[in-house]
Symmetry: C2
């Protein structure tokens, strides 16, 4: 996976849109789905980029993910929405629902939507960031396949359940928190296994529930369903605050899976041959319902400068604000994006299946 | 601090209310403040209980904390509030504002309030839990004195900025997350220093910004203003996810300090002789704007059972839900609460200052 090639963003976009379309996804929806994936690659979050393209097309092929996403509004008030995504595409459900949430927040200051019957929606930050241009704070949460052990538990019960909060700034870049509530995601364990590197002990457990540093063994346990899982942010037990990461994961699932009347914990991705039933939660808060947007942005800038100018720890010369690294990568990869060779090969094969030659 | 005595809750309540009142706090407000403190002790969160009583009365004595809390509503919409607490008592500001938020959420589904010019408000969970009886999810955030280093930073810039989310369940106890966004709070470092125990390396840094296990040295550095601080949840650097804890701390401060137009980061508790200017953020979300409350409670019960029945890690026989330990302690300490002898002595002295003899 270490070798990558540069592909023009326009070319990659056209290809993925066309392939999604051949799988039955309407062009407009395919554009949304492609944009979510490519934005992840541009921001350097490859694990959620076109690396996942085949998983989506596989879902479309088996019919477990519907190509036409029919959003059904099950309940609505001026500032809340309950939505079923009808087993459609998570990115399309996310995009459309967040649009509705933004509209409601602009008119009613604060709005939330809980979404059920959806699928993997890519990076959580895509949807929270949609709020930025409107002077809103954006919030995006989702449950995921159960991969994380509860504190003192042996087996995975909760998801890596990410939290994203996007906040506009003035001259500074927006604050964009986009974090799994586990210490790391499965992908990072896989990279360590491939490279034969030991993991920090705060990442995952062995089959007995003890913190483990052998990534290959941990992965083998998961594949053999022998137990173990990722550790919540904070690690094993309570000494390092692992119960806090576990609590945040539960909170995300309560807002997503429970408040939507959907599925939660072990019930997401229940079996190989049934829809994943992923649930999301979106929110938007109008800043000038509290203080004037300009003042808010000025204060955000001040805070960013305060943090960046504060003294650095030994061996470090820079303090980061959340989202900053990703915005810089995005700027660097505005027109061309680095894609691992192995992923490019996979994209080619998916294209061939539906008679579309990859132009890269 | 290891020796404690049992005091009748009614006796302790009467005493603290009377003393607060002698310091100029109206009886009704004194009852609120006393209840927040004693509830913390009953729930086993001694660090935020009457152990802090003297700090509040000291604040009242110097005039930095006003005994009469005059809530001023600076901006209001049907579902949002911007409040100045006028340098009054944090607990009174929190209680009154959360009441208003609950009223608004009952009428408009979702409501938020940002509060500025306040003081230390005790346990964050007190206010989130106020929502539980109304079929609401409660949220409570606050900024605090800067004690936590940003990732790659040498000195403390952000607070321990806690997050509390309270969610009703049915037969099961409510889910009550109430967590500092640092790995631990200052109190836990102090306990380790006193007992001469080494700290886990995810708790705090030395004066150069390196993870440190010597609690006495870390504390000495803080007192001498030599640098160092608590580590964000996840620990030093990014390997254990410390940047996530740091991001959560920032998010809390953005909602509290920035959105209220108040103070943030280094500007909270700016100097010894000026008001602390602490900021809070409160929220409430009406569950039946999404799904019926009874269904929601049934699903919460199912989730709790799913977690508790899942296999345990080696050496453990119980998985906890957040708030559970505290509810159990509260039940045990319903009528009588254990208070450290040293704290009892301090309470007696404070009472003597205003001519009230402690009846314990």
């Amino acid at each position: 996976m270490d070798e990558y090639i540069k592909i023009k963003v326009m070319t990659l976009r056209e290809f993925t849109v066309n392939v999604f379309n051949r799988f039955g996804v309407p062009v407009e929806d395919a554009q949304v789905a492609a944009d979510v994936l490519i934005t992840a690659d541009q921001r350097g979050i490859e694990s959620h980029g076109v690396q996942r393209f085949k998983r989506y097309t596989d879902g479309l092929k088996t019919g477990l993910m519907k190509p036409v996403t029919e959003i059904k509004i099950l309940k609505e008030t001026p500032n809340t929405l309950l939505v079923s995504a009808g087993d459609g595409m998570g990115m399309v459900a996310g995009y459309r629902t967040m649009k509705l949430v933004i509209d409601k927040a602009l008119r009613h200051n604060v709005a939330f939507a809980a979404v059920r019957d959806s699928n993997h929606y890519g990076i959580a930050g895509y949807y929270s960031m949609m709020a930025l241009d409107y002077g809103l704070i954006g919030i995006s949460l989702t449950n995921t396949a159960p991969l994380v052990v509860p504190t003192f538990g042996k087996d995975a019960v909760v998801g890596t359940n990410p939290i994203s909060i996007a906040v506009p700034a003035g001259k500074g870049r927006p604050f964009v928190l986009d974090m799994a509530t586990s210490t790391v995601t499965r992908g990072e364990v896989e990279v360590h296994a491939r490279e034969g590197k030991r993991m920090p002990l705060t990442w995952a457990t062995d089959e007995l529930g003890n913190a483990a540093d052998d990534a290959s063994r941990v992965l083998a346990n998961w594949l053999a369903k022998k137990g173990g899982g990722l550790l919540p942010l904070g690690g094993e037990g309570e000494d390092g605050g692992g119960h806090k990461g576990y609590g945040l994961a539960l909170a995300v699932d309560i807002f997503s899976g429970v408040l939507s009347g959907g599925v939660f914990g072990l019930n997401t991705y229940p079996k190989k041959d049934v829809p994943a039933k992923v649930c999301h939660f979106f929110g938007a808060i109008k800043i000038d319902a509290f203080i004037e947007l300009d003042l808010f942005k000025k204060m955000m800038d001040e805070y960013i400068v305060m943090l960046k100018n504060s003294p650095k720890a030994a061996g470090h010369d820079r303090i980061f604000i959340h989202g900053e690294k990703e915005f810089e990568l995005h700027e660097q990869q505005k027109d061309e994006v680095g894609i691992y060779y192995k992923v490019v090969e996979e994209l080619r094969q998916v294209g061939q299946e539906v008679g579309i030659a990859a132009p890269f």
